[in-house]
Point group: C2
Chain length 421, copies 2
Amino acid sequence: MAVTTKTVEESCIAARRAARELAAAPTATKDAALEAVARLLRERAGEILDANAADLADERAAGLTQALRDRLTLTEERVAAMAEGVRTVAALEDPVGDELERKRLISGLDLRKVRVPLGVVAVVYEARPNVTIDCAALTIKSGNAIVLRGSSYAERSNGALAAVVREGLVEAGLPEDAVLLVAGGGREELAELATQDGLVDLLIPRGGEGLKNALKDVATVPVIYAAAGNCHVYVHSEANLEMARRIAYNAKVQRPGVCNAAETLLVDAAVAADFLPDALRDLHGAGVALVGDERTRELAGDVEVGVASDEDWSTEYLDLKMVVGIVDSLEEAVEHINDHGTSHSEAIVTSSPEASERFSSLVDAAVVYTNASTRFTDGFEFGMGAEIGNSTQKLHARGPIGLRELTTYKYVVRGDGQVRE
Amino acid sequence: MAVTTKTVEESCIAARRAARELAAAPTATKDAALEAVARLLRERAGEILDANAADLADERAAGLTQALRDRLTLTEERVAAMAEGVRTVAALEDPVGDELERKRLISGLDLRKVRVPLGVVAVVYEARPNVTIDCAALTIKSGNAIVLRGSSYAERSNGALAAVVREGLVEAGLPEDAVLLVAGGGREELAELATQDGLVDLLIPRGGEGLKNALKDVATVPVIYAAAGNCHVYVHSEANLEMARRIAYNAKVQRPGVCNAAETLLVDAAVAADFLPDALRDLHGAGVALVGDERTRELAGDVEVGVASDEDWSTEYLDLKMVVGIVDSLEEAVEHINDHGTSHSEAIVTSSPEASERFSSLVDAAVVYTNASTRFTDGFEFGMGAEIGNSTQKLHARGPIGLRELTTYKYVVRGDGQVRE
């Protein structure tokens, strides 16, 4: 089954048509499609790996860094993991049709507020073929159609994967155009996709700042930007310092290149002298380049801590680098975070329930942690199966975007002839 | 208490600061502020009416149409109605702090998803002073700060009303800058307000297409556009035709200048000959200018029905004008509505539960009615007390924007030292 070679607009028109069928599809039909996709992924693993090998052998791929090549590479295990992921999504509750509210209005009308799919979702992403499957599974389950615009580096891999998904849809009696891949292409095609008003209901860019800025200038369809994560760990005066060390270390070191990794460590002055020397030594030992304010540098002992510039407090390093500062109160920590953070994931380490409550209430972020690493902000960890993106905006969705976040609602109102007086 | 004369940016900074206090304010405090505002509106009615008289006497107001002058005019009853409206909002449930979900994650973390205020909401509106009070009441109750940008025609009226609200806030111990009025001014000030990224969380334009287009070109803050309402009434083959006549008449005639009024009447071919002559005579008798497709014109008898152009099917007349068409099935009606409608409010008149179900499921709109007029789409009728706008977009909010729609959510996660493996 060949993957489409339609233009961007033709693809969006086809997706819109398919979306109307998907919106009305029963849960069992959508689940059957997902089961078929999971089965076909295993059956076609050979073809998929061949396509992936061709992508990796392409001369364009030669210039990729090792990390990017790793993201592009598929293996038998990775294909099996994708199939497992599809089954996980199939097992989640179908949000479509949920009754969110029901009431009898003063006019006697019966009002029901019910969840409905958004319609057509477009995702623009980098050379990570598994995203093709994750996103398609989420949109199928939530009754949406999806237009996928992957990277040209992954063209053959994505083509093979999308073909499998389309075959699974057809097996279940659903329209194959509910999952459409548009050719990578350049900025022009991106702009074309981002201006399909009336056809695309939501565009989710998964990529770096360059992609986001390119979209901000041209997009006329609704976009959810997964903005940067300048996340903080705040060690409160009543923190368990051993726990604080582990959390600060994990939040920075476990996977520094992702948006929920911490970039700033704030330490209450009351515990700084006890906490900092060991904590800084841990971080330094893991290869973290440290900068800090004056008080931090005084307590650093033999650990090298550079001078933090104004810019450091607002930078998402996405790397083994961290800025460390001392604050005199929880209020100062909150103010610092609200002024410099990106409203992604913020953590306090404290044994005081009052401090936890106050921090959780005052910090303006999608996720506020007490006594845990910021690294947990993720659709899988949150029990949402997977995520199609991660929102740092306040409208519609905050944090991981899963099945529910791919829906909107509709008021269904029934009367017996009511007119407005 | 003088109303602020700050610049747009200074106002937004002050509102942001106030928003942090409002977000943490208990329900009782917010309600006390609203009670104080309701009381002060009555006590200060004289001053408010004097200010309004000055607005009406201004030479600029001389050029207004009678309808616009009427919207600008305040009377003792109208001020009393505003006070009553504020009490109605005070009596509504406070959405802030609602626990939307709670679960234990696989990592053992305790996750709660709770409603929180958006922060700073900006509203741009025309010369209707009551909007000042409606919007301020909704934002206070939902824990937000508001920046109001009214019309220069209503400058003195809005000033007097905003002063009363600010005094009410202070009486209850809340910051007066939770409600700020910025001077009317021109497009430049509008653009300044629409680009206060990081200060304004949501901008709601209440006005015509001119205002919306002006914003679309410049806005960088999140905007909810209350788009046009090209609403339809579809008379199904199994409709009670007497009911259908009343609903079609009401949806068009009762208040034609509003977004939930109907613009198109679709009639099933099976009942067209029975239904149309009387229905068209009703509408014509109420002064409705009619245009229609060929089959409608053939059935119009002595009622004058012009030729509908392609454009008519997509026009929001906002006037005593209606386009009438005949369709051969429910599916054709649905397709017509999904192709030409604006996803606002759509109605079917039918005695068939299956037809109602099918129409409600397939029509892609914020509100879908069975056997009722489209005119009910409104915050008050929906039991939301009031509305700050009416959304035809799919993200975040659909239909009337009330207290809940002025909130977002936050994940509050508590652990006992969890780090990501």
